[in-house]
Structures are given as structure tokens and as C-alpha cells.
Amino acid sequence: MNALEVKELSKNYGTYQALDNVSFSIKKGEVFGLLGPNGAGKTTLINILIGILTANKGEVTYFGETLNESVKNKINVSSAYRSVSAMITVEQNLRVYADIYNVKNPEERITELLKRFLINDIRKKKVREISSGQKTRVNLCKALINSPEILFLDEATAGLDPQIAKTVREEIKKLDCTILFTSHIMSEVEELCDRIAFLRKGKIIGIETAEHYKKLLHKTHTNPTLEDVFISIAEEKL
């Protein structure tokens, strides 16, 4: 069964069409990359999939069900655009989310996650007092608190230093869940994603493996990279 199925999704902001008949499906356990230029509609798409933005048209199912309470308990999201409550501590925030999802042994779960992302030392700090790279990891801990079956990561690794980024990638690889992943770091996308959808001006223009995309550039490039692919697509040469 597909973990996620998106059918003919469209979204307009006023007269601007941000998503135009987007369809794809993600297999259970797959890490699915979503790439595209700034303004392509990636965040819009993820916001619809996590149920905080209403589409104008289309249908989404999660393990065959539409978005209901039980599905909402099985998904989670981490986004570079958001933060948990700034005025309370890291630990307190995670405790709130643990309670929302009725996590068993919340204290242990929180400690485990904080250790995995190397931020156990800042657990008592207020979120407004921590650095942006630390905040990024707090968001990831929040996103994993309910051991989601589908995880949405919207530039969730932005702003991490190379060493921490490596740790985070390792952690993401270890996860036993379906992931929809957006990032502007091509090496990371290539390392983590099984398949990659390219979105341009609200339209999906391809869903392939990184290898497949690179082969498309063999005529014009020697040793093409995913970055070359991205640029060719953004420049509408592919």
C-alpha cells in the first residue's frame, strides 16, 4: 500500500496558482525528495499535506485514509519556517507535544531524542535563547516525538554546520518511516532520497531517481551532478 497518495491537487492564492494538478504517490518506507526553485510550491504542497492549508481541488490519502484524527496522530512535520513556543524551554515544549500525542514515557523519549540530535545540554534553555541550528534540531525532535509513520521535512536541515548536518543525516537514515523531504542542499537530497520529484511553477515535471535525472544530461555535461540537473530544470532546459 502507498503511504501517501496525492491526486490532482491544485491551490490558488487569490488569482495566483501555486499548485497545478499535482499527483504522485509515495511508497511505505520511501524517502521521497521534493525539489524545485524558490517559489515552486514545495512549502504550499507540504502545508496542504499536513492539513494546515486547504487545497482548491484534489485528494490526498494517507495509508488509504483521508486526513482524520488517527492519521494526524501518525504524521509529523519539521519546517525551517517555524518554531515551537519561544517563551518556554526546549524540554517543556517537547513535553507539550509528547502529551498531545499521548507518548508513553515522555521523559525518556525526550531525553533520547535530545541526545540523538546532540542538544541534551540545552534542554533547560528557553527556545528564544538558543541558536538557529539548535532550534532546527529542536524542531526535528518535535517532529519525531510521536514516532511518525509519515514525516514531512520542509528544509528541516537548513542552517546546520557540516558536522551536525552529518549527524542529522545519519539519524534520518536510521528512521523507520516514510519521508517527504525538501531541501536546497543537493548532496543531502541525493544521499537520502530514493526518488525525487521536481516541481516547477506548481507543476510536477518529473519523478525519478537521482541517477536517472543525471543521465538526461549526459549529452551536455561531463559527470553531471544533481545540481546541474536542478539548474537545467530551473532554466527550463529540461
Partner: protein
Amino acid sequence: MKLHRIRALLRKHYYLSTAGISRSFDMLYWPAFGLIVFGLTALFVEEQGADIRIFLIGGLILWVVFERLQQDINIYLLEDFWSGNVANEYATPITSTERFIALFITALIRSIISLGLMALLGYTLYAFNFFNIHPAGILYALPLFLTAWALAAVVAGLVVQHGIRIQMIAWAVAALVQPIAAAFYPVSILPNWLQPIAYMTPLAHTFEGYREALAGNFMLGQLITATILSVLFILIGYAYFVYSENKGKENSTIAEN
């Protein structure tokens, strides 16, 4: 000191002043409002001369409870807007009703603490006993709380639908309705045309009823009217809140915060 920099700031203030009605509102409504409420109170004091302490201190305590309750409900929601936590929370299974109830409980606890403090101060400083009322008078708490909740729901709905650019309304709305709440004077002191409007809100009935209870009388009819009206208000407030959450999901206000 450079004049051009002052001019730059003045230009900014001018842009801010003309960007929306809220700044002009500050300039016009508050002064007018202050004059009206205190003018009406003064009128009443002149006419009555009686136990004015009951009206002023009792009215103030009840009013502050009402206002704190409404503001706290809204401020706890605004906290999530300030932090950028709104979208995160709306992505969880939390429902409108759950959010609505949790906000109310927190605010209720806080306003009861405020009430305790004010009652204590009123008693020790001014020998005014807030609880020295007809025992059934305590029931007026119900319409008071429900009305604050209803008003907060409308404000919360406006914020969820339009975003924090209209957050000022959270602080202003209680005062907006204050003139017709009859917190510091009886409804009869209001101009004739305003009296029926005041009686369409649960607040006027609540404050009048509470004052009667302070005088040792209990008016069952008034309590029932206040309660029925407040239930009506909370149903409307809740319906609007749910509606605005849906709007906020369509227009992206929730996703952006």
C-alpha cells in the same frame, strides 16, 4: 542629532498612522470613551449619592475579571503567533473544541486568582466585601464567564482569520463594549436609545443583577435572561471561531504562522 533622521522617523509614523484604522482609532476612540464612561459615572454619582462604593469597587472587580478572562484567552493564543508555533500546533490532532476549552480553563484559573486578589484588597483597603451578597448572586459568574469566553472567541477567530496584524483588538475589545456593559452605573443612566441595546447583551443584566445581589436582592428573571443571552453568545462565538479556523486554512494565515 540630525533633522533628516527625525524626519525619517516621522515619515514612518505617518505611514503607520495611515496604514490602517487602528491608529486613528486609538487617537479617537479611547479619549472619547474615557470621557463617556466617567461622565456617565459622575452623572450617576450626582443623582444617587447613595452607597457608591458598591457600584464602583464591586463593578470594577467584576469588570476586571471579565476583561482579564477575555484577554488571557486571546493572549495565550497570540503567544503561538508570536513564536511561530501556530502551524505546528494545527498540524497536530488538536481540535477546535479542545483548543477552545483549554484556552478557557487557563484564563479562568488566572482570572479567579485576580478576583481573589482584588476581593482581598477591596476588603482590607476599603472595607468592601465582594462576597457579602445574596448567596444566589454567585450564579452571575456563569453569564459573566460565558460572555467573556464568547467575546474572546470572536477575537481569536479574527486573529486566526486575519493574522496578528489585528492583534490590538485583543486589548481593545472589552473596553469597546464597556459603555453598554453598565459596569459602573445602572443601564437607566444611558441615553434612551442605547438602553435596549445594552439589554441585548448579557453583560448589562449581569452587572445589574450583581448589584442587586450586593443589596441583598436576587432577581431570578435577570439571572435567567443573562444566562440565556450568554449561552447564545458563546454558541455564536464558537461557531465563528470554527468558521474562521477554516478560513485561516484557506487563506494561509495558519500556515504562515
